[in-house]
């Protein structure tokens, strides 16, 4: 990565974070209905930083927009605005945040931020003009001040004159001139400048155009003075000469320097309500580095098995080797735990992003709603979280658009006119459960079924359709019960995309509803990268992995124990119990010579709901396996038959499928 690449990454990351902070801050202000001076100062500082960085990167459109907003908030630091103005102001900021985020996306996709933000910038500037014109002159910085050197004791016996110009575009040249005067103070008993007031309104322009003159009385030799002058930055020319001195020219003036009005610098911590953005001792890590780390740790786990379970080594029966292997195993376990933990981040940032969605939808649909967040500290893998916000967005938009009734309808139904959307996350074993529920009108089963029939999506008889099946129709592609397609939903695009995205994460979606009371969507997402203990089995030369936890025992069956039940399914009787038999070669239609029970192995598998026997050719051995999800194109083919839980790479590099023993039997 070249130095330039990393600068861009830092620019995008840091300023992206700042935009998020800005958004959160603004939501807090809107909620409370006021902008405190602390909040204004924080908003100002964020805009100032974004402007500065964007200017350094030559992203002129972003610089212009953030500059306009910065000036607006700079004004608000000193002056209060009317309540209705604040409303307009926060709309400006929100639109700008969106516009700048869009530009960042373009940059992220190796494009250029070439969006035309001039209209928005002009609007902000026009508004700023209105705000400032309805006031007196914005506070002038300080009363005029002239700097006079303090009396230096001895009167100087030289008079020098210097005509000084600065380089083009060095900026604030009057202050540079002031700096030079200050640096000469201790050498001179008297200093005069032309223009005489370096801090006057037009002194900057005057000096830029004509340079400035210094007339100094000093007892120092010329070179002391000139070398001091040359310490100034961005000097272009210094024309220096000594002037003849007249006796009565020498004065020892005593003028005090007027005190400047101290500029208020509200440097303050961000409001505690925005605590999920508080700086903690974290560092940002490039995600691809973490991905690489995860992959390597997975490979280490596999390779560790290959080494320690090497048949030839095991034959040697070396005690010291076994001891070392166990230690190695302990360390790799710890390593994989830590690596997984690194990638886990809390859902809070993603959940709080939804506040903005609720706010926007609230404004556009005219329905008041509040978002309640529970369990925001629940953690999920970073990959999963990144892919979760789109589905959540669709579901919440749908809830606000269709689920929630208008305030009048709600009051008529005896509900609080303000709708409630609850976003909740919690851990459930090796999964995370996320639910989005609203207290709206709920789903209309009949309407859903009718639409399903009309669209040809219903395969069953309408009377046989259960509630859950009817509700899950809303996730079918091309489905929408609303006659009117709104801007945000109803096009049948959002919800089915949401469903697919969840499935891509290995998750599952369930919808429930109570008519009149609301709807809830439950999402179950597995924590990725599971490493399981597995038993390798083979059928017709193909290797499968069976989760070791589920295996009760394995044995070579005797033909006399095999029977058939009334439906013709094979069963085995063992120690007084009867278990159904599943032939693995039949499940996957694999050709194998091992079709007779005496030639193969039966494995007794225990699931939550039943116990059955799996018939395979042979057992190969135990193997620690890193579970990788199936590629999407394969899981599509498998469709609803959930016989495969994932896949893994064996020590020899071949791919092996991991059986889902629950799904196999169904």
């Amino acid at each position: 990565m070249s130095a330039n690449d990393s600068i861009l990454d830092i620019y995008l990351y840091e300023n992206g974070q700042l935009l998020d902070n800005l958004e959160s801050l603004l939501l807090v202000c809107e909620k409370s209905g006021t902008f405190t001076s602390e909040q204004i100062a924080d908003i100002f500082r964020i805009l100032h930083t974004i402007k500065g960085a964007s200017a350094m990167m030559n992203f002129d459109n972003i610089t212009g927009l953030s500059h306009a907003l910065e000036d607006l908030f700079g004004f608000l630091r000193e002056h209060k605005a009317r309540k209705q103005d604040y409303r307009k102001i926060s709309d400006f900021v929100f639109s700008s945040v969106d516009a700048i985020k869009a530009e960042f996306e373009k940059i992220q996709n190796t494009g250029l931020p070439d969006g035309d933000l001039s209209e928005m910038t002009d609007e902000v500037r026009a508004f700023y003009k209105v705000l400032t014109s309805s006031r007196n002159e914005p506070e002038s910085e300080e009363t005029q001040q002239t700097v006079q050197p303090e009396a230096s004791g001895a009167s100087g016996n030289h008079r020098y004159k210097a005509h000084i110009t600065f380089q083009k575009d060095s900026k604030m040249e009057n202050i540079r001139a002031l700096g030079i005067v200050k640096s000469l103070e201790k050498f001179c008993s008297r200093i005069e400048t032309v223009p005489s007031d370096l801090l006057g309104d037009h002194s900057d322009d005057e000096i830029t155009a004509n340079g400035f003159d210094l007339i100094m009385d000093s007892d120092q030799p010329a070179n002391v003075i000139t070398s001091k002058i040359k310490e100034a930055f961005f000097l272009k020319d210094c024309h220096f000469e000594e002037l003849p001195l007249k006796q009565d020219d020498v004065k020892v003036p005593k003028k005090e320097v007027k005190k400047t009005k101290k500029e208020k610098s509200d440097i303050s911590a961000i409001n505690a309500e925005v605590s999920h953005n508080v700086k903690q001792s974290y560092m940002s890590v490039n995600l691809s580095k973490l991905d690489a780390l995860m992959d390597i740790v997975g490979e280490i786990v596999i390779t560790e098995s290959t080494v320690t379970k090497n048949p030839e080594v095991m034959k040697l029966g070396l005690d010291s080797f076994d001891k070392a292997s166990r230690q190695l195993r302990k360390l790799t376990d710890e390593l994989q735990d830590i690596v997984m933990a690194i990638r886990m981040i809390p859902v809070s940032a993603t959940f709080h992003k939804m506040e903005r969605i609720v706010r926007d939808m609230s404004n556009r649909t005219g329905k008041k709603a509040e978002l309640i967040i529970i369990g925001e500290d629940t953690e999920l893998d970073k990959n999963v979280i990144d892919n979760l916000s789109d589905p959540l967005m669709h579901i919440i938009r749908n809830a606000m658009d269709h689920g929630l009734e208008t305030a009048e309808e709600r009051s008529a139904a005896g509900k609080d006119p303000k709708g409630k959307i609850t976003l909740e996350a919690h851990n459930a074993g090796s999964d995370v459960l996320i639910s989005i529920s609203d207290d709206g009108r709920g789903l209309n089963k009949q309407a859903l079924i009718e639409k399903g029939v009309k669209k040809g999506l219903l395969k069953k008889n309408p009377e046989d359709v259960t509630d859950k099946e009817a509700y899950s129709l809303i996730f079918a592609p091309g489905f929408s019960t609303k006659e009117k397609v709104t801007e945000y939903s109803g096009r049948g695009v959002g919800m089915d995309v949401a469903m697919r995205n969840i499935e891509k994460l290995g998750g599952a979606l369930v919808v429930d509803s109570t008519p009149g009371h609301g709807m809830s969507v439950q999402i179950r997402i597995p924590l990725t990268l599971a490493i399981i203990e597995g038993m390798q089995v083979s059928v017709g030369g193909h290797v499968f992995i069976v989760p070791l936890l589920s295996i009760k025992e394995s044995f070579k069956p005797k033909m006399r124990d095999i029977t058939k039940d009334p439906d013709g399914n094979e069963m085995i009787t063992m120690r007084g119990s009867c278990y159904p038999i599943l032939r693995l070669h039949q499940v996957f239609n694999i050709d194998t010579d091992v079709t007779s029970f005496e030639d193969g192995i039966l494995i007794i598998l225990e699931t939550q709901t039943l116990t059955y026997c799996l018939f395979v050719d042979e057992l190969i051995g135990e193997q620690q396996t890193v579970v990788k999800p199936l590629p999407v194109y394969i899981s599509r083919i498998l469709g609803s038959s959930k016989s495969i839980a994932g896949c893994t790479i064996l020590g020899d590099g071949s791919v092996s499928l991991i059986l889902d023993i629950n799904g196999l039997m169904s």
């Binding site: 100032h48 200050k182 930055f233």
Partner: protein, 118 residues
């Protein structure tokens, strides 16, 4: 090689300045994200030059400038300002900042400025 302490609350600016200065023969001995940390690091690292942003949380550049000069009146502190910060820059200059540069700036500008320091 002149030793530099870079003070700015934006990581982006710190990295940008670091790159520019390192390419031009300076050694960046430390970074600080606010004036308070700058004060501490100045004492710990004893740099030859400090680049000081003005607007920072906790302690701004102006306050930090004054505090560092209290400890070391000869400190070479260069303010990094934005347009519109005239009064703060003025106060900085009057308080003893060796000079200032205005954002946005290119590599040659900041290099010329620092090279000019005694």
């Amino acid at each position: 090689m002149k030793k530099v302490l870079i003070v700015d609350d934006a990581a982006f600016m710190r990295v940008s300045i670091k790159n520019m200065l390192t390419k031009n023969g300076y050694e960046v001995v430390g970074e600080a994200e606010n004036g308070k940390v700058a004060l501490q690091k100045y004492q710990d690292l004893g740099p030859d030059v400090v680049t000081m942003d003005i607007t920072m949380p906790e302690m701004d550049g102006l306050t930090s400038l004054k505090k560092i000069l209290e400890l070391d009146p000869g400190a070479n502190i260069v303010m990094i300002s934005a347009m519109g910060q005239e009064s703060m820059v003025r106060e900085a200059v009057l308080s003893g900042a060796k000079g200032f540069i205005v954002k946005p700036f290119k590599e040659d500008v900041i290099t010329a400025a620092l090279n000019n320091l005694p």
